[in-house]
Amino acid sequence: MSNLPPGFREPSVEGEFEEYYLNMGPQHPSTHGALRLVIRLTGETIIEVVPHLGYIHRGMEKQAENLGYTQYIMMSDRQDYLTAIQNNLGVCLALEKGAGIGVPERAEYIRVIMTELGRIASHLVFYACYGGDLGGQTVLLYGFKEREMIHDIFEEVTGQRLTTNFFRPGGSRMDVPDTFIPRVKAFLAHLEKTLPDYDRLLTKNIALVERSVGVGKLTKEQALAYGCSGPVARASGVNYDVRKNDPYSIYSSLDFNVPVMYNGDCYDRYLIRWQEMYESIKIIKQCIEKFPAGPYRSKEKPNFKLPAGSFYAASETAKGLYGTYVVSTGGANPYRIHTRSPSFSNVSAVNAMAKGEKISDLVTILASIDPVIPEIDR
């Protein structure tokens, strides 16, 4: 198949239709950003999809080599912009591991509440975009409505809605205000009233069920082979959640379940995020009950240095396993920082999912992966 464009491997399909190529993106309403998919089709059936990345590559990892360690936390905001707060935590975990900094109890609770709120926000955006990409414009607005309320909480606590830049090695940048806990409580009460409405609107809608059940199947083996993580892998039966399997922060002391489903289709990926939202609510409630007093940060270390060596820490963001690998030579700047971003691996599986489906299904599949393009390109 030497005459195929780069990236395509499948043999030609004999049939009544001619093959043709369709360029989806980088400017397309449902690629969720500057992602370009080149699709090889016969009729409306997809033979192969080749994702092209790099349209918003900013060289973050290279820039990090010229920045201090705390300055890189600001960079992590600009990766998964839907849950910047979880990326902050991911970077901080690696830096704490390297510098050997402990975290006071209150700071851990702040971290867990904030990151779980971030997870709910991200899953609400998933719900919104999934409905929106399937043609339900109203769903798009509903999901964003509650997500904005979470961002209001973030704004009050951290000063920004999206680019929070809140956590620091050894705790958080500042203590939460007194209004934080009552506000989160009120929000959770509101969310528990609203989520069933949204569930009723979309989950059993016959068009959605027909469009997502059995569509975009990813087997467990494929999910592992592509390195998928997070809801995408868990929907395929991979029972892996960093919070449970390799607990960081205080997750080992909290009571929550990791939802796992086994069909590996779009509908399972959709349902699993619903269950995760409820689990997150459960986690936040537990944290609110036990919310301790005390210092919010271990010690002030503005420009600290890491000992020579390499350190890795993984955390579970809404999209999956977020890993930060730091190599230090003992200086003020890192020698190398590499980020293992979940969306990158998840999007790489899009070809395996979309083979043999229709164009409309590709939109569903892409929405069910819930990719964030800046996280892929960094």
């Binding site: 920045l67 201090g68 705390t70 300055q71 600001m74 960079m75 905001d77 109203t138 509903y142 409505k145 904005e148 704004e155 009050e156 606590v157 951290t158 000063g159 920004q160 680019t163 830049n165 940048r173 500042m174 205000p177 409405d197 949204y198 009723r200 609107l201 979309l202 059993k204 809608n205 016959i206 069920v209 027909e210 059940v213 059995g214 503005p302 420009n303």
Partner: protein, 158 residues
């Protein structure tokens, strides 16, 4: 759902289930949207420029960088340059000068607002509390030079 994998009996069962459950679930969806449409209290959007007077940002909101000044317009900056070093994208230039006594004081505090990401590391790094983030958020300008700002009105006192 891939109908080719189903046998006739399963397909018939699915068909009948869809005929009964489908409309019911669609009607359930309609009740949600009707409920939201008929309840004006659920409207969450704000009429932005009209509500400017009552609109108050959160205390911690990071808008634009400002110098903390007392009533005489004096600032607390000692031109130590901690903020300049803390800034990840070189948005701050602290230009020191010498006062009459020959001591190093702040001459000009240049703030490149165009490249600032409002990360707040400078405020965190300042040991004297000389800078803070103001609440402003309307910064659109026709001229990019408007983003090159000198923050201090007076020379620092050292």
């Amino acid at each position: 759902m891939n109908d080719k994998e189903l046998n006739t009996k399963e397909y018939a069962a699915k068909y009948i289930r869809n005929c009964i459950e489908g409309p019911i679930n669609l009607l359930k969806g309609l009740t949600v949207t009707t409920k939201y449409m008929l309840n004006p209290k659920k409207i969450v959007t704000e009429q932005y420029p009209e509500n400017k007077a009552t609109l108050k940002m959160h205390e911690r909101f990071r808008g634009n960088l400002e110098m903390v000044e007392d009533e005489n317009g004096d600032n607390k900056c000692t031109a130590c340059g901690m903020c300049e070093r803390a800034c990840p994208n070189a948005s701050i230039n602290v230009l020191p000068t010498k006062n009459i006594a020959g001591k190093k004081v702040l001459g000009k505090y240049i703030y490149h607002f165009g490249s600032c990401t409002q990360c707040g590391l400078c405020v965190e790094a300042c040991p004297f509390g000389a800078i803070h983030f103001a609440q402003g958020f309307e910064f659109a300008a026709f001229n990019p030079e408007e983003f090159e700002r000198v923050l201090n009105k007076k020379e620092g006192r050292g």
